[in-house]
């Protein structure tokens, strides 16, 4: 099994990751993305040169504290007939809700 720090980039890896991301790829896409994933990961490998010992990972660029706001009810986005406006963009809707295909 490949060491996690230097993965072997092959079509199986691309297919596995695409599956995790719920992406359906054609065989051509798998081939192309595998090559490009390999190129990008080879380029990204240079990050290993940087001494990051003891460095706190920066996940946010400005000092940031989570603020709590008052728990106030704001009016919902309704259209003129009183239905939720978000449903205007729903692929399928019923009874003021999203309608989805039966899955079980």
């Amino acid at each position: 099994m490949a060491h996690p720090e230097s993965p072997e980039v092959n079509e199986a890896l691309t297919r596995k990751v695409a599956d995790l991301a719920r992406l359906e790829l054609t065989d051509d896409e798998v081939q192309c993305f595998t090559r490009q994933l390999g190129d990008v990961l080879a380029y990204v490998a240079q990050l290993k040169e940087v001494n990051v010992e003891g460095v706190e990972p920066m996940v946010h660029p400005i000092p940031y504290t989570l603020r709590l706001r008052e728990d106030e009810v704001e009016p919902p986005f309704l259209d003129d007939e009183g239905h939720p406006k978000v449903l205007k963009s729903a692929p399928d809707a019923m009874y003021d809700g999203y309608k989805v295909p039966q899955i079980v």
Partner: protein, 503 residues
């Protein structure tokens, strides 16, 4: 020998009304009404061959303009407190507006009509702006050339065989071609500054948190920012003044004071106190000699004014693109998980048998660059690779920020090129994503560090394509960009998109 910018065909028709100052002077003199001006811009937007607009909002814009006509007639002048009164703007199609289709340049959202207006647009309209339409962009703001839009590319406004830069390519082209007075773009790794540089206009990437992201469809949440693209630095300041500042609807919005930016754009610096940092890592082999010499001339100009040029070093610059392409794609893979065909857009997977197949079929609507980045990001976040990729990139990101913090102990502003080259040819880099990513090498570091940066035209190459000077300031010091930038702009009218007209 210095070259000059190629002129935009037909720009003379609108050149007298291309800045807020010009338009307001005409309104105050009774020479122009908001609906006359809006009509002129709408015609240009509808007739353009640049591909800059995805949607022209004629009825909505004319209704806004007519309301402004009534105000102008009643008041006899531009009302105070409406700094953008009757100013036609274009909006990048990644920003939501109530009842207006917002596609993000993607088939995935081809029919998406959001139920609310985002904070930036809402504040601009409250300040009097008129929204002319939605502007083309790379799909979900992923790209450097605007070749990744599902609805067709954007042409460079003066060189149709070239790219306008991306991802705010529609915004860059629309402003330069006189299809709006100003535009909103978004910048994650350079998506405002790069098209501003390529198109020859002013583009501002604000400090992270300066402008609320409420109503911006998320690509990379720790990097995304909304900013103005305009002909002049003053208009850039004016738009930021109207849309910036704390917003309780965005938990990452910064609660910091909003200084008078318009005043800074009109204030000449005390040059004897100005220290301009020149980072050696931005003047490397491989940058176009014409870009290098134009930026060098800009540095010499600052020196001639009495500013002190200081050598600074940003030693982790060479790792910035690699860092960015781990962090940004990781955040993107997470943000774009919401596009599953349940709540927005189209649903080609309606008849599929199980949930996984349903999602997969729905997500075929993503274009190739988006899929590529989701795959890369999903990989970087996946079990077994998280520490080696995402976590390490975040650590290197801290080093990049440290570089800037250290440099700004020695200087007030950093000056450097926006991009290593001028606008490249269409199709030139589409086959090699890594080459495309490297176009952002000089814009990504400030993005990673959350610093504000501005692109200002500082010359042209032998083909008449614009070259951008980038100024970078410490976080929340946009005032310096406006003040130092406007001083350069006023001294070099021949390099600007409107020539001497607006100065």
């Amino acid at each position: 020998m210095a070259h000059t910018l190629k002129a935009v065909p037909g720009i003379d028709e609108i050149k007298a009304y291309a800045t807020v100052k010009q338009v307001h002077a005409a309104y105050n003199a009774g020479k122009l009404t908001p609906s006359e001006l809006t009509e002129r811009y709408l015609k240009r937007a509808e007739g353009t061959k640049t591909g800059a607009y995805l949607q022209v909002l004629r009825d909505r814009a004319m209704a806004q303009a007519k309301a402004h006509d009534a105000v102008l007639k009643r008041e006899g002048k531009v009302p105070p407190g409406q700094p953008l009164f009757g100013i036609p703007l274009g909006i990048k199609d990644v920003l939501t507006m109530d009842g207006v289709r917002t596609t993000c340049g993607s088939r995935m959202l081809e029919n998406y009509v959001p139920p609310y207006t985002g904070t930036a647009v809402e504040r601009l309209e409250r300040a009097g702006a008129i929204s002319l339409g939605k502007l083309n962009m790379d799909e979900f703001a992923m790209g450097s050339s605007n070749e990744n839009s599902a609805f067709g590319p954007v042409n460079h406004p003066t060189h149709p065989d070239r790219v306008p830069g991306g991802s705010s390519g529609g915004s860059g082209a629309a402003v330069r071609a006189g299809l709006c007075v100003g535009a909103l773009g978004t910048d994650t790794g350079g998506s405002i500054r790069l098209p501003a540089s390529y198109c020859g206009i002013v583009g501002l990437k604000v400090t992270y948190g300066r402008v609320s992201r409420f109503g911006l469809v998320a690509f990379s949440s720790s990097l995304d920012s909304i900013g103005p693209m305009t002909h002049t630095v003053e208009d850039s300041a004016r738009i930021l003044q109207a849309m910036g500042g704390f917003d309780p609807r965005d938990s990452t919005s910064a609660d910091v004071p909003m200084p008078d930016f318009i005043a800074s754009a009109n204030r000449d610096p005390d040059w004897s106190k100005v220290r301009v940092g020149v980072p050696k890592e931005y003047f490397i082999d491989g940058i176009d000699p014409e870009v290098r010499s134009s930026v060098q001339r800009a540095l010499d100009w600052y020196k001639s004014k009495g500013a002190k040029l200081v050598d600074v070093s940003l030693p982790h610059t060479k790792y910035a693109v690699a860092t960015y392409y781990v962090v940004a794609v990781s955040e993107a893979s997470s943000n774009l998980a919401r596009f599953d065909g349940v709540r927005f857009g189209l649903r080609p997977g309606q008849g599929e048998e199980d949930l996984t197949a349903f999602y997969k079929k729905n997500r075929t609507l993503f274009g190739p660059e988006v899929k590529r980045r989701i795959i890369l990001g999903t990989f970087a976040l996946s079990s077994g690779y998280y520490d080696a990729y995402f976590n390490r990139a975040c650590q290197v990101r801290a080093k990049l920020k440290e570089d800037f913090d250290r440099a700004f102990e020695k200087c007030d502003v950093i000056a450097c090129p926006v991009a290593p080259t001028t606008a490249f040819k269409r199709g030139e880099k589409t086959g090699d994503p890594l080459q495309m990513y490297l176009m952002d090498i000089f814009t990504i570091p400030a993005s990673m560090a959350g610093m504000p940066g501005i692109s200002i035209p500082c010359g042209a190459d032998k083909d008449g394509l614009s070259i951008g000077l980038q100024l970078i300031a410490p976080q929340f010091q946009e005032e310096r960009l406006f003040s130092f930038g406007a001083a350069f702009e006023k001294a070099h009218p021949e390099m600007q998109s409107l020539g001497g007209a607006a100065q």
